[in-house]
C-alpha cells in the first residue's frame, strides 16, 4: 500500500496497464512529453515510449475517432480529453460510433476505448473548464459512464475500464484530485493522506464497474451522490447531525439500482446530490428509479440538490457550487426540519 492522491492513483493505474498489456496505449493533448496538464500521465512516455503514450493534435473528434480505429485494430486506447468541457467535438464519434459499433455489427466489431476526462468545478475554471456533462453520456446506451470519488476507486475503476471490452467514459472530478473537499473553499486544503481511500495498492487490482458503494452507513436518510459531492454530503450530514446513509454511485451507467433501492427502502428518505445542472440531469433518472423501487416505503418526496441551471460562472463559482450549506438545507427539508 502507498499514499496516493487521485492523480497519482490514476497514473498508477495507467502505469500498471501499460506494463501489463502491450496493446494499451495513451492518446491525448499534452499527455506525452509533458505528462498532462493535471500530471496524470507524468513520466509514462519516458517509461513506455512515444509509441505508447502519444501526444495528439488539438482535435478531440480526431482523438476519439482515431482511438476508435485503434481499438478496432486490437489496441486498448486510453484517450484523454483534457477537460470534459472539450469533449463535444468528439460527441458524434462517441454517440454514433463508439457506442454503436458492437451493436450495428452484431458483435463482429467492437472498440474498447476508455475516455478519461477531468470534470467539475471548484478550481476557478469558469464556464469552459468546470462542466459536469455526465448525464449526457449516461443517456447514451452502449457506453459506460463512471466517476470515482477517491484515489482507491479511481485506480481500481480505471483498470476495470481499460480491461473492459465496452467503451467507458471515465470522469475525473478534478477538484478532488489533490484531496477530499467538503465544499468549503475557505478552509485549508486537506490532502488524501488523511483519508482511508488515499491508501492505494501499488500493483494491479480492480474495482467492479457496476457497483455503487455505501460510503457511510446510516438509517435516517439515504443520500445518493457521486464525485466531489460525496465529500460534501458527508460533511453536510455531519453538520445537521443526521444518521445518513451515503451512497457513492460510482458507475453512473449501467446503474446499480439495488444498492440504492435497498438503502432507501430501509431509510424511507432519499436526497440526491450532484454538481451538474438539475434539469433533465442524472438525478432525475435516479429519482425515477428509486421512486419506482421504493414508493411504498417513502416518507418524503425524493429531493434533488444540484448545480443551478446556469452555465458555471467564473466569479460566482461558490454560489453556483452545491456546497455544504445547500446540501444541509436539503437534508433539513427532507427530514421535515426545514
Amino acid at each position: 500500500m502507498a499514499q496516493m492522491n487521485m492523480v497519482e492513483a490514476i497514473r498508477s493505474a495507467l502505469d500498471v496497464m501499460l506494463d501489463k498489456d502491450p496493446n494499451v496505449i495513451i492518446l491525448g493533448e499534452d499527455v506525452g512529453y509533458f505528462g498532462g496538464v493535471f500530471r496524470c500521465t507524468d513520466g509514462l512516455q519516458r517509461k513506455f515510449g512515444e509509441h505508447r503514450v502519444i501526444d495528439a493534435p488539438i482535435a478531440e473528434g480526431g482523438i476519439i475517432g482515431a482511438a476508435i480505429g485503434m481499438g478496432i485494430n486490437g489496441l486498448r486506447p486510453v484517450a484523454e480529453i483534457q477537460f470534459a468541457d472539450y469533449i463535444y467535438p468528439g460527441f458524434d464519434q462517441i454517440v454514433s460510433e463508439l457506442a454503436r459499433i458492437r451493436y450495428r455489427s452484431s458483435g463482429d466489431f467492437f472498440s474498447p476505448v476508455t475516455i478519461r476526462t477531468p470534470c467539475g468545478g471548484g478550481i476557478r475554471g469558469g464556464q469552459t473548464h468546470s462542466q459536469s456533462p455526465e448525464a449526457i453520456f449516461a443517456h447514451v446506451t452502449g457506453i459506460r459512464s463512471v466517476m470515482p470519488s477517491n484515489p482507491y476507486d479511481a485506480k481500481g475503476l480505471l483498470i476495470s475500464a481499460i480491461e473492459c471490452d465496452d467503451p467507458v467514459v471515465f470522469f475525473e472530478p478534478k477538484r478532488i484530485y489533490n484531496g477530499p473537499f467538503d465544499g468549503d473553499p475557505n478552509k485549508p486544503a486537506v490532502s488524501w493522506a488523511s483519508h482511508p481511500k488515499g491508501e492505494v495498492p501499488q500493483g494491479y487490482y480492480t474495482v467492479p464497474l457496476d457497483r455503487a458503494e455505501i460510503v457511510v452507513a446510516g438509517d435516517e436518510l439515504t443520500i445518493v451522490t457521486y464525485g466531489t459531492l460525496v465529500h460534501v454530503a458527508k460533511a453536510a450530514a455531519e453538520e445537521v447531525g443526521v444518521r445518513a446513509e451515503i451512497i457513492d454511485v460510482r458507475s453512473l451507467s449501467p446503474l446499480d439500482v439495488s444498492t440504492l433501492a435497498n438503502s432507501v427502502n430501509k431509510t424511507g428518505r432519499c436526497l440526491i446530490a450532484h454538481e451538474a445542472t438539475r434539469f433533465a440531469g442524472y438525478g432525475a433518472e435516479l429519482a425515477a428509479r428509486i421512486q419506482k423501487e421504493c414508493f411504498y416505503n417513502l416518507e418524503a418526496p425524493i429531493s434533488r440538490i444540484a448545480g443551478w441551471d446556469t452555465p458555471y460562472p467564473h466569479a460566482f463559482e461558490w454560489q453556483y457550487f452545491p456546497g455544504k450549506k445547500r446540501v444541509a438545507n436539503g437534508i433539513r427539508k427532507i427530514m421535515g426540519e426545514g
Binding site: R52, G61, G62, G69, L75, D92, Y103, S106, P254
Partner: protein, 412 residues
C-alpha cells in the same frame, strides 16, 4: 471586382431543363500525367492533385506511365465484378420499388472505384467503406445472398435487423461496418493504420467518402492525424459530382480540386479518372506501396459521376438534367473497360452478353435463396428479443428487464 462584399451561392452548371455542361471539369488526355517515384516529396508532386491520371484513351488503348500492365484475364475479372455490381444493384433497386426492401443505394457509374481498389489492396489491408462501395464486399468474398439478407433484415442478416439496407460489414473480409453517418469512418481508418504502424505490421487502411462529406469535421480530423503520424492509409474521395441535390461546389470544389485538400498538411493528392479502372488501380497500388514503405498517407480524388439517384428516396430529375450522365466526359466505367478488352482482342459483344446472362442468373438465384431466410412480410422472422443483445459485451440488468417486459407485452 465589385467594390463591396457579396455572398456567393454556388450554382451547378445545369439544372433540370438545361443542357448538361461539364466544362468546369479539368480534363487531361490519357497518359499525360507523369508517374513519380514512390518516395517523391509531396512538394514535388503537387501537380498530381490538379491533373487527371488516365490510362484508357479515346481509342480504348492503355497508354502512358500509369499503365499498370494488367493482363487480359485480370481485366476480364475486373469487368465481371463491375458488371456483377451493376446487375446486383439493378435487381435490388427493382426489389425496393416492389416494396420488398425498405431502401437501397446503387453505385451506378461508379463501379470501377470499388473494383479497382479492391484489386489493388491486399487482403490484410482494412477497408473503411462508405455506402456505395458494395463491390468491395463482393470482391472480398461476401456472398450475394448474405448481402441480400442484410437488405431484407431477415434471419440471416449479418446486422440482425439493426441497420438500414446496404450498411454491410465483413469481419472476415476486413471491411468495417458502414455507419450511415457521413465521414465518421475516415478517422477510424487513420487510427487503424496508426495501430498497424504501432504494432509494426505492414497492413494499411483505406477509406472512402464522397465529395459532399469532405465538408465534415471528421474528414479534416482524419487528414490532420494521418499527416501528423504519417499513418499508412489511403484516403479516397469519390467525387461523383452530386451530394443528393447539391453539386460538388457546395463542398468547396469550385476553385480547387478535392485532391488538393491535403497539400496544406503535406499529404500528396492524386486526381484520377474514376471511370478508368486501369488508372484507379495504378494510382491505388502506388499509394499502397508508398504507405507500406513508410511514406505515409495519400489522398486520392476519383472523378466520376453518380449516374443514379442518391438513394431510393430521391428523384434526381428534380435537381439536375435528366440526361446529364450521358454527357459526362469520362463515360461509363464498364463500357470503357469492355471496349478496351475488345480492342485488344480479348472480349466480344457476344461474350459480354453471355456474361451478363450468367450474372443475372447468379443474382436471381441468390435472391431466391435469400427469401428463404425471411422477407419483410413472410417468415421466418428475427426474434425481436435480440434487439437487446450486443449493446454491451454482456447484457446489463436493466436491458434484461426491458427485454423480459417487451416479451411479455409482445407475447413472445
Amino acid at each position: 471586382m465589385a467594390r463591396k462584399s457579396r455572398l456567393h451561392i454556388p450554382r451547378p452548371s445545369a439544372r433540370p431543363g438545361d443542357k448538361p455542361d461539364f466544362s468546369y471539369l479539368n480534363l487531361a488526355p490519357a497518359g499525360s500525367v507523369d508517374k513519380p517515384a514512390l518516395d517523391a516529396r509531396t512538394r514535388d508532386i503537387e501537380h498530381l492533385s490538379s491533373g487527371l491520371v488516365r490510362v484508357l484513351d479515346e481509342k480504348h488503348q492503355a497508354v502512358g506511365p500509369w499503365n499498370p500492365g494488367l493482363d487480359a484475364s485480370q481485366l476480364q475479372i475486373a469487368l465481371r465484378w463491375m458488371l456483377l455490381n451493376r446487375i446486383f444493384d439493378k435487381r435490388m433497386w427493382q426489389i425496393q420499388r416492389q416494396g420488398r426492401i425498405s431502401f437501397y443505394m446503387e453505385a451506378l457509374g461508379e463501379e470501377a472505384v470499388s473494383v479497382a481498389q479492391a484489386m489493388a489492396l491486399r487482403p490484410g489491408d482494412m477497408c473503411f467503406p462508405s455506402y456505395r462501395n458494395q463491390a468491395l464486399f463482393m470482391y472480398r468474398g461476401l456472398k450475394l445472398v448474405d448481402m441480400m439478407c442484410q437488405c431484407l433484415s431477415n434471419t440471416r442478416d449479418m446486422c440482425k435487423g439493426r441497420q438500414l439496407p446496404v450498411m454491410y460489414h465483413g469481419k472476415a473480409a476486413n471491411i468495417f461496418s458502414i455507419s450511415g453517418n457521413l465521414a465518421t469512418q475516415y478517422p477510424h481508418a487513420v487510427g487503424w493504420a496508426m495501430a498497424s504502424a504501432i504494432k509494426g505490421e505492414d497492413h494499411i487502411a483505406a477509406s472512402w467518402v464522397g465529395d459532399g462529406s469532405t465538408a465534415e469535421a471528421d474528414f479534416h480530423h482524419a487528414l490532420t492525424f494521418a499527416a501528423v503520424y504519417q499513418a499508412p492509409v489511403i484516403l479516397n474521395i469519390v467525387n461523383n459530382q452530386w451530394a443528393i441535390s447539391t453539386f460538388q461546389g457546395f463542398a468547396g470544389g469550385e476553385r480547387r480540386s478535392f485532391a488538393a485538400r491535403g497539400l496544406g498538411l503535406g499529404i500528396p493528392g492524386i486526381r484520377v479518372d474514376g471511370n478508368d479502372l486501369l488508372a484507379i488501380y495504378a494510382v491505388t497500388v502506388w499509394a499502397a506501396e508508398r504507405a507500406r514503405r513508410g511514406g505515409g498517407p495519400t489522398l486520392i480524388e476519383l472523378v466520376t459521376y453518380r449516374a443514379g439517384a442518391h438513394s431510393t428516396s430521391d428523384d434526381p430529375s428534380k435537381y439536375r438534367p435528366k440526361d446529364e450522365y450521358k454527357a459526362f466526359p469520362l463515360g461509363d466505367p464498364i463500357e470503357r473497360l469492355k471496349q478496351h478488352l475488345i480492342s485488344i482482342g480479348h472480349w466480344s459483344e457476344s461474350k459480354h452478353e453471355q456474361l451478363e446472362a450468367e450474372l443475372k442468373a447468379e443474382v436471381l438465384a441468390a435472391w431466391k435463396e435469400a427469401q428463404q431466410y425471411g422477407t419483410m412480410t413472410e417468415g421466418p422472422f428475427l426474434d425481436p428479443a435480440s434487439m437487446f443483445d450486443d449493446i454491451y459485451a454482456t447484457t446489463p440488468a436493466h436491458l434484461e428487464s426491458q427485454r423480459r417486459y417487451m416479451q411479455e407485452i409482445e407475447g413472445s
